[in-house]
């Protein structure tokens, strides 16, 4: 089963230009007191230039570790072992020296984290956060850097940027702070932005503003986006393609619309059914998923969702399903749901 989830389906491979990102059989293993923990266990992805990919999963599914491994923040070092390949615009991220890696950050790939307050240095003004990176990467002088910082603040929609630039992080609201963090990530015009739960700490009205901002920036700057979230709703309207992760693996990936309307993996289906729908009448019984996610230091054999899956049969425990499927809609399941929409050979249910 080591190889099973690793195959990149030919339908996904772009025919023309070089992909922005190729992730091939990526594994991130963390040594813990309780033994090796396979946080990411054989993930393969391709992201085209300018494309937006959503990665959804519950806590512990490995989605954040995947994002950080793509960035090169996790590499074979200390308790962490990374195998497999991450090719960022053709560059093998895991093979880079630390110094080359820092050059890559900012110019090729930028990252936005969940908590904007801890991502900012409380004793530095907003402007310093922005000028630091552009001076280092672009060799601008002080005045030029400040101009660039103001430009960036305007770009991310911070009103009154000339005043804000000299304020400290604590003087800004959560939404404004997240805009500053996004401005930092954009300072050197990365071709790929990885946003890990960028709106989770924010209120719903502010969340919409930040998601709108990411949409606009993607359109204006033509960058690719990986949006990592536990919230399926956040990802639904904002990405071209979605990958659902469970216990360190991608269990289903498809274009956003078919994944949300015609999920084939029982986990994806169950996850959608568990969210209350605003348009349904109140007091509807929710379709909860029994049990809890597996302990990743001792994951179950075969399909990892099998112990919680209501369709599970003997073969699910025996053989891990391969991520495969027709027309770019891939799923790792022996007994897919919504099989009516599948071509005959897989439509077994």
């Amino acid at each position: 089963m080591t190889q099973s989830t690793a195959q990149v389906h030919p339908a996904q491979a772009p025919v023309t230009d070089q992909p922005m990102l190729v992730v091939d059989d990526l594994r991130t293993v963390i040594q813990t007191a309780r033994g090796p923990l396979k946080a990411v266990d054989g993930v393969s992805l391709i992201l085209r230039k300018g494309e937006a990919l959503g990665i959804v999963g519950e806590s512990g599914s490995g989605k954040s570790v995947l994002g950080r491994t793509i960035m090169g923040l996790h590499r074979t070092e200390g308790p962490i072992t990374v195998t497999g390949k991450v090719l960022l615009d053709g560059i093998d991220v895991q093979a880079l020296e630390r110094k080359q890696l820092t050059e890559l950050w900012g110019s090729k790939v930028g990252m936005v984290f969940q908590d904007p307050l801890t991502a900012l240095n409380p004793v530095k003004k907003v402007g310093v956060h922005l000028t630091e990176t552009v001076r280092k990467h672009r060799g601008l002088n002080r005045a030029q850097a400040r101009e660039r910082a103001l430009e960036l603040l305007d770009l991310v929609g911070i009103p009154d940027s000339r005043r804000r630039i000299d304020q400290y992080p604590h003087e800004l609201s959560g939404g404004m702070r997240q805009r500053v963090v996004i401005a930092m990530a954009l300072a050197n015009e990365p071709e790929l932005l990885i946003a890990d739960e960028p709106t989770t700490a924010l209120d719903v009205t502010v969340q919409r503003q930040i998601l709108d901002l990411l949409d606009r920036l993607r359109a204006e700057l033509g960058m690719a986006l990986i949006l990592i979230s536990h919230n399926l709703g956040v990802v639904a309207g904002r990405t071209d393609r979605v990958a659902v992760m469970y216990a360190g693996r991608v269990v289903e990936t498809a274009d956003a619309r078919s994944l949300f309307t015609q999920p084939h993996h029982p986990y994806a289906e169950a996850l959608l059914a568990a969210i209350p729908d605003l348009d349904e009448p109140p007091h509807l019984r929710l379709a909860a998923i029994d049990g809890s996610p597996p302990d990743m230091s001792a994951p179950p054999p075969g399909c990892r969702f099998a112990p919680r899956c209501r369709y599970a049969q003997d073969d699910c425990v025996a053989v891990a399903p391969v991520l495969d499927g027709p027309g770019g809609h891939l799923f790792a399941c022996h007994h897919p749901v919504n099989a009516g929409s599948l071509p005959d050979e897989r439509g077994e249910r």
């Binding site: 919409r208 309307t261 209350p276 605003l278 929710l286 909860a288 809890s292």
Partner: protein, 346 residues
């Protein structure tokens, strides 16, 4: 009275819990005052679930805690089954409090990490000096979906977040409360576990004849569990609406903004890409110095001079539906889906 008023209150003899003119203020530095809750009223009838919905800083948690007198409100009346809780102290308050139990957001940190599940569950009655039989503990653990044989001797760190929340609910049930106050009980849980706990709360409420106040920021969650929803903004009530009518019939501009902001995963197959209207960029005003008149006016596309001068009072907007907005009629005429309100007003 501003975004307050008391028109939506039910006859006094039907109320289990009644809160009138509740004000919660906290001192801030420089002699300033945080106006967390500013004169709101609400009630709860037997067997009802009242959802309190709002974003951070709207005062929903302060209101929930003020019911429990944690801390006592700055002013206003709280009555449980006709008995006043405000202004009474000591033993009488202690007696009354056991009839109301609270469930908090972070289940792990609300449990003493050094105690075992069996002792955590029995703690309430033991404090009251009551004998607690193992059978009773088992019965309650069973009722919250925990296997007593498995969790009996476990400590909180050996349980998942969802299981800890079940223990918290079991603790609350041991005292046979009348009212359960849940403050963001599922917001720290994963979607799949969240559904389990929401189902459990519905079951528990029916089985133990409880009335419930459910405080949360997630609109779909609040809608699903509540009978009636009170929407709060900056310490005031915007709208009180039966939950079945929230999505289509809400008329307060703030409620509509919330509804329009919710990202949904429930896409229809034939639906076009989500029409996401441009959001209002204005910031939430400071609760140190809230706007005059209607507190939402600084972000409201329909605001007029009237809104700055006079605070809107809750007035009827349909059966069991009340709204505190001078321009609710304008909103009511717009289509209930997205775009209309924000774009036209901006």
């Amino acid at each position: 009275m501003a975004g307050s008023g008391s028109m939506h209150l039910r006859p006094e003899d039907e109320r289990v819990l009644s809160v009138e003119e509740l004000v919660v203020e906290f001192p801030a530095k420089g002699g300033q005052t945080v106006h967390a809750v500013s004169g709101i009223s609400f009630d709860l009838v037997e067997g009802e679930t009242l959802g309190i919905l709002g974003e951070s800083g709207c005062g929903k948690s302060s209101a929930g805690r003020a019911i429990m007198q944690l801390p006592p409100p700055t002013s206003g009346q709280v009555r449980l089954g006709g008995e006043p809780l405000t202004g009474v102290g000591g033993e009488k308050l202690r007696q009354a409090r056991s009839q109301m139990q609270m469930i908090f957001q972070d289940p792990v940190s609300s449990l003493n990490p050094r105690r075992k599940v069996k002792d955590l569950v029995a703690e309430g009655p033991r404090i009251w000096g009551r004998q607690v039989s193992d059978d009773k503990i088992r019965e309650v653990l069973d009722a919250v979906g925990l296997n007593p044989d498995v969790v009996w001797d476990r400590r909180p760190h050996e349980l998942s977040g969802g299981q800890c929340q079940r223990v918290c609910i079991a603790r609350a049930l041991m005292l046979d409360p009348r009212v359960l106050i849940c403050d963001e009980p599922v917001s720290s849980l994963d979607v799949s576990v969240q559904a389990q706990i929401l189902n459990l709360l519905e079951d528990t409420k029916a089985r133990y004849d409880l009335s419930m106040v459910f405080i949360a920021h997630d609109i779909a969650v609040v809608k699903n569990i509540s009978d009636r929803i009170m929407v709060m903004y900056l310490g005031k009530v915007c709208e009180v609406v039966p939950s079945g009518r929230l999505a289509k019939e809400a008329v307060h501009p703030y409620t509509r903004l919330l509804l329009e902001s919710v990202p949904t995963a429930h896409l229809d197959a034939d639906q076009q890409e989500q029409g996401v209207p441009s959001a209002l960029s204005a910031e939430l005003p400071s609760p140190l110095d809230p706007p005059s008149g209607c507190r939402f006016r600084t972000r409201c596309p329909l605001a007029t001079e009237l809104c700055a001068e006079r605070e809107p009072e809750l007035r009827p907007a349909g059966d069991g539906h009340y709204v505190a907005c001078h321009h609710a009629e304008v909103v009511a005429q717009r289509p209930p889906v997205a775009t209309g309100l924000v774009e036209a007003g901006a």
